[in-house]
Amino acid sequence: MNDNDIVLRVEDIHKSFGGNEVLRGVSFDVRRGETKVFIGPSGTGKSTLLRCINQLTPPDRGKVWLDGEEVTNSGARINYFRQKIGMVFQNFFLFDHLTALKNVELALLRVRGMGKAEARAKALTELRQVGMEDWADHYPAELSGGQAQRVSIARALAMDPDVILFDEPTSALDPELTREVLEVMRKLAREGMTMLVVTHEMGFACSVANEVLFMENGVVAEQGSPDLLLHDPRFTRMKDFIGRIDSRMED
């Protein structure tokens, strides 16, 4: 493997809230075009891990590199790195006062300093990518959860990020809407977008992930291809976890 392929390097991330150590040394490398899926019980620090990567939550210890440049301790340059590390949230966090189009345009205008016409054209292109160009002039309150999430993906895409972090992107959606969002994510993966996805959607993980990281108690407990973790007898912990979820769902 060529080291140049590595777009994001995460090294020994630790994070505590109060006395509670949520992340206890997490490390991994992400190659360009790869999709990594994080699975695990809630409260094991998966969302915190994503926020540590783009420094929305600064880690207590550990380092993050993007394309060989250190993201941690980067001072004001963090705003540059955040453009290159897109993020999609569980609750969308669309800007409620702006239409879908303006949501995608805003950072192009205010952060990238693009001209109006160029920003508009780019925003429309990204909305088309996620199948939302017909809804460009609608406000967030007028969109379904699935539509809102697709707009928020377009908003992240518009910054031409090297990698996108998805923080439980479908957890707030019912199954029908979940499907349309996963469809968009699947398409992005096919087109070579680098993605880190925290999710409970095993189907998505199995069909799209190049690698699954099973997290438990603030560390990566198991790591490997979906096939390996699900079928190799040496790996048991993720299977146990999935079994627990399934039996709970049958109750």
């Binding site: 955040r82 949230f89 669309l94 800007f95 205010r110 952060v111 406000y139 007028e142 910054m159």
Partner: protein, 225 residues
């Protein structure tokens, strides 16, 4: 003597009072906005000393009667600062504005705090600086949320502006009092002035509500509130 014809003779004078009162109100609202908004930002995003200073300012200006504030600044503070030449109108507008800033800052503070935390997180995740996020994402929403409460500042300042009579600002009430003294017509003139205040009051409110509807956005409660 025919009351109505006297009133009509005096009408231009009365209208000059209306203009003066509206000038006071507009100046005070503007000053209150220009000071109140940064104060609100300071109280939400500022360091501890900044928050403390704003808190004391608000406590002071909301705790004192408008009459005492006017006396304090007109007779005491402004002359003491060597600003004794300022006209009563300017002092009246400034004092109403300084006090309005205290009230407005609390309206804006509440509105800023009611914007969901996720808005700031999403803005920062796109690479916006804190200042850009506040300017482009938080404030446009907060201003819409604040508008219904802010609209109520207008009638408050309008009715308080009459107290500027006490320091000799030639506004509507002062002109009314002069007319009463000179014409010896009392009730009709007082009631006419009351009528004018009522029209200014509800007319202005109606215009503000129309503005609220115009800038209403789906999902923001402004139109309905």
């Amino acid at each position: 003597m025919d009351v109505l014809s006297i009133l009509i003779d005096w009408l231009p004078y009365l209208l000059s009072g209306v203009a003066s009162t509206l000038g006071l109100v507009l100046a005070a609202l503007t000053l209150g906005l220009l000071l109140g908004l940064p104060m609100a930002l300071g109280q939400v995003y500022g360091s501890r000393p900044v928050r403390w200073v704003v808190g004391v300012y608000v406590w002071f200006f909301r705790g004192l009667p408008i009459l005492v504030l006017l006396f304090l600044f007109w007779f005491g503070i402004f002359p003491g600062l060597g600003l004794g030449d300022l006209s009563a109108f300017v002092v009246g507008a400034v004092v109403l504005g300084l006090r309005g800033a205290a009230y407005q800052s609390q309206i804006f503070r509440g509105a800023i705090q009611s914007v969901g935390e996720g808005q700031m997180i999403a803005a920062r995740s796109l690479g916006m600086s804190r200042v850009t996020a506040i300017r482009s994402v938080i404030l446009p929403q907060a201003m819409r949320i604040a508008l219904p409460g802010w609209s109520n500042e207008y009638p408050n300042i309008l009715t308080d502006s009459a107290v500027c009579y006490a320091i000799g600002v030639v506004e509507l009430l002062t002109i009314t009092a002069r007319m009463v003294t000179q014409t010896h017509i009392t009730m009709p003139i007082y009631l006419a002035t009351a009528g004018i205040f009522i029209i200014l009051n509800y007319g202005g409110l109606k215009a503000l509500h129309r503005l609220e509807k115009r800038i209403a956005i789906p999902g923001f409660g402004t139109g309905a509130m």
